[in-house]
């Protein structure tokens, strides 16, 4: 009779809690995220923007609406005619550009955040419904979303603002409505993917009611693509709000929204290029930062979604 193969030799004296050997999910996420240099750069820029937004009244050197009649169209400080009082120069009504950009950060972030929230919550809810009721409710919700997606998003936003009238709140509503379909689609796809898994079946067998199934069991596991989508639609919200402002349909002057600033800046292409370049540059950098963060998030949260790079 052969002896059974001996077990592995040493059993440790005290059983080590296996979970302590692995980093916490948050730490793991941060390690993956920080490996992406671009994402980190994006995060740092965003921190700057958030800081400006939160502390705008204290950070901005001047009141953004105050018109310095003697300093119309002053160039930025590094050009001839520049003035340290107005580091980035002034616009056509003599308002300090730097202060307007900083205050504008508030608006852009506000618009981004509120539109994301307003579309995320109903979007996720509808997506859950569509996923959990795939026979009738699901397809009808999806058809509705298809209709909304058939229109290019800017056109739909423009049409909505045309109805509701221009202004900050209506801009947010329009952008939220326009971003809704992508959340619904995403949630539905994720939910349908998860529904076949064992843990859901187990929960069902354990007697979990529908609400619990939806929100406690399935939803947390769909968060990864949703977070990424939220970041991306945050950046689109900023771009769309700027586009609406540029067309005169969004935030109205004299409120210093970056896109609205560009609308009046068209007049000064020849005379005062900084009034044109700087607000646009700020939009570009902010959106770029968010997109970099979004890319990093996506790579860190779900390796399956990573680029084949």
């Amino acid at each position: 009779m052969t002896t059974p193969i001996a077990k592995t030799v040493t059993t440790p004296a005290t059983p080590v809690d296996q979970s302590l050997l692995y980093p916490s999910p948050y730490k793991e996420f941060w390690q993956a995220f920080s490996r992406n240099k671009g994402a980190v750069a994006g995060l740092m820029f965003m921190c700057l923007i958030v800081f400006c937004a939160l502390f705008a009244p204290w950070v901005a050197p001047h009141n953004p609406s105050e018109q310095y009649r003697d300093f119309l169209l002053t160039p930025p400080v590094w050009l001839e005619g520049g003035n340290w009082q107005f580091i980035l120069g002034t616009d056509e009504l003599g308002r300090d550009l730097l202060s307007r950009l900083i205050t504008g950060a508030r608006l852009s972030l506000l618009i981004g955040l509120s539109s994301v929230l307003i579309s995320l919550i109903p979007g996720v809810f509808l997506g859950l419904l569509a996923g959990f009721f795939p026979r009738i409710l699901g397809p009808s919700i999806m058809r509705l979303m298809d209709v909304m997606l058939a229109l290019p998003s800017l056109l739909l936003a423009v049409a909505i603002v045309a109805i509701l009238g221009p202004g900050l709140i209506n801009t947010v509503i329009a952008i939220a409505i326009v971003s809704l379909p992508s959340y619904v689609r995403l949630t539905r796809a994720a939910v349908m993917g998860e529904l076949n898994r064992d843990y859901v079946t187990a929960a069902r067998l354990a007697g979990a009611g529908l609400p619990r199934l939806m929100f406690v069991t399935v939803l947390p596991n769909c968060m990864a693509p949703l977070i990424v989508q939220a970041t991306l639609s945050f950046s689109s919200a900023i771009l769309d709000a700027a586009a609406l402002g540029f067309l005169g349909l969004g935030v109205q002057p004299p409120t210093p929204e970056w896109g609205t600033m560009l609308a009046s800046a068209r007049d000064y292409i020849e005379r005062a290029w900084w009034v044109v370049s700087l607000p646009g540059l700020t939009i570009l950098l902010s959106v770029l930062a968010i997109n970099l963060m979004g890319d990093g998030l996506r790579d860190a949260l779900d390796p399956k979604l990573k680029n084949a790079a």
Partner: protein, 336 residues
């Protein structure tokens, strides 16, 4: 194959009705009295007002108005512009070639440059070129294109004077709009230098409009190419001793192109949205500018049916892309 097309068509119908409902609702929700809008600041006497309401059918109950609307659409009657009294369909047809020309030029620009950049980036993965392409394309779709257009105008038109500031062609050329496509019309006319002038006017707007599709196509091509290059059949082709160019372009690109083609098609929506902004900046007389001005002027029939037409266009293109994709990829055809 036919059942696939039929299935796709079947999905189209409810979407189409949904769009009509959407555009109908959109317009009815706009505040303000349409008849007063039409009369502008002039006095409207009550009798005229009632007559106009009657004529436009605005005093019937809403569901009946909707049915009237759909009925007219079925007969091809898209109403009249409140401003010019011209048929919306005619206005659309007159202006659409301008947008089409611009979109086509933008797509050609985005396609050629994007494909090349994406392929080369994939081949030289990890190099400076690769990072550069990825960086630039990320910047490309992070940027507000109206600002980008202004910057390019500032630089190339105003400072350097290389390109004109706006419009489709210099006003001194009298070009008869035979096809609506300025490039073709200038060739057909006998004015010298007109074709070159038309091209110069087209360059900047095409670049601006094509920037976002360029970014998307470049990225998509790169990632698709990378996936394809890892496949076995590529290794086989190389092992067989085929030249690298042949491997890349004949074996690799053909397969990599399939997802890229889908992206091409999906860019139509982006192009139409972008056209609105680009046409505004460059004073390009196309349907984007038409729609924005109609919204400002409360020209209901134009807004309503203009949006409808654009949405139908997008749906149509998506449909065609779907079919083409199904043709190219048998797995899709036989899916549920």
């Amino acid at each position: 194959m036919l059942s696939f097309i039929a299935r796709r068509l079947g999905l189209l119908i409810p979407t189409f009705f949904g769009i009509t409902l959407l555009t109908f609702a959109l317009i009815r929700l706009i505040p303000g009295d349409p008849v007063e809008v039409m009369m502008g600041e002039r006095r409207v006497d009550p009798e005229m007002h009632a007559q106009a309401m009657e004529r436009l059918g605005l005093n019937k109950p809403l569901p009946e108005q909707y049915l009237d609307y759909v009925g007219k659409l079925a007969q091809g009657d898209l109403g009249e512009s409140l401003r010019t009294r011209e048929s919306v369909w005619n206005e659309f047809l007159t202006l659409f070639p301008a947008t089409l020309e611009l979109a086509f030029a933008a797509l050609v620009f985005a396609g050629v440059v994007g494909l090349l950049a994406g392929v080369i980036a994939a081949l030289k993965r990890g190099s400076l070129f690769d990072h550069g392409v990825m960086g630039i394309s990320l910047a490309g779709y992070s940027m507000p294109i109206f600002w980008w257009g202004l910057i390019l105008i500032m630089f190339f038109s105003v400072s350097l004077g290389w390109t004109p500031v706006s419009g489709r062609i210099d006003l001194l050329y009298d070009i008869e709009p035979k096809t609506g496509f300025m490039l073709i019309d200038t060739l057909l006319s006998d004015e010298e230098g007109a074709f070159k002038d038309a091209v110069m006017h087209l360059i900047l707007p095409a670049i601006v409009l094509g920037t976002i599709p360029l970014a998307v196509i470049a990225r998509m091509t790169r990632s698709s190419m990378l996936e394809v290059l890892r496949e076995d059949y590529i290794r086989t082709a190389r092992a067989k001793g085929l030249s690298p160019a042949r491997v890349v372009f004949v074996h690799g690109l053909r397969n990599a192109l399939i997802p890229v083609l889908t992206v091409f098609g999906l860019q139509v929506g982006t192009l139409l949205a972008g056209a609105v902004l680009t046409e505004t900046i460059f004073s390009w007389p196309g349907i984007g500018k038409w729609l924005i001005e109609a919204i400002g002027a409360r020209d209901y029939p134009v807004v309503q049916n203009g949006i409808l037409l654009i949405a139908c266009l997008v749906i149509l293109v998506n449909f065609v892309v779907d079919i083409l994709y199904g043709l190219a990829n048998p797995r899709i055809r036989h899916q549920r």
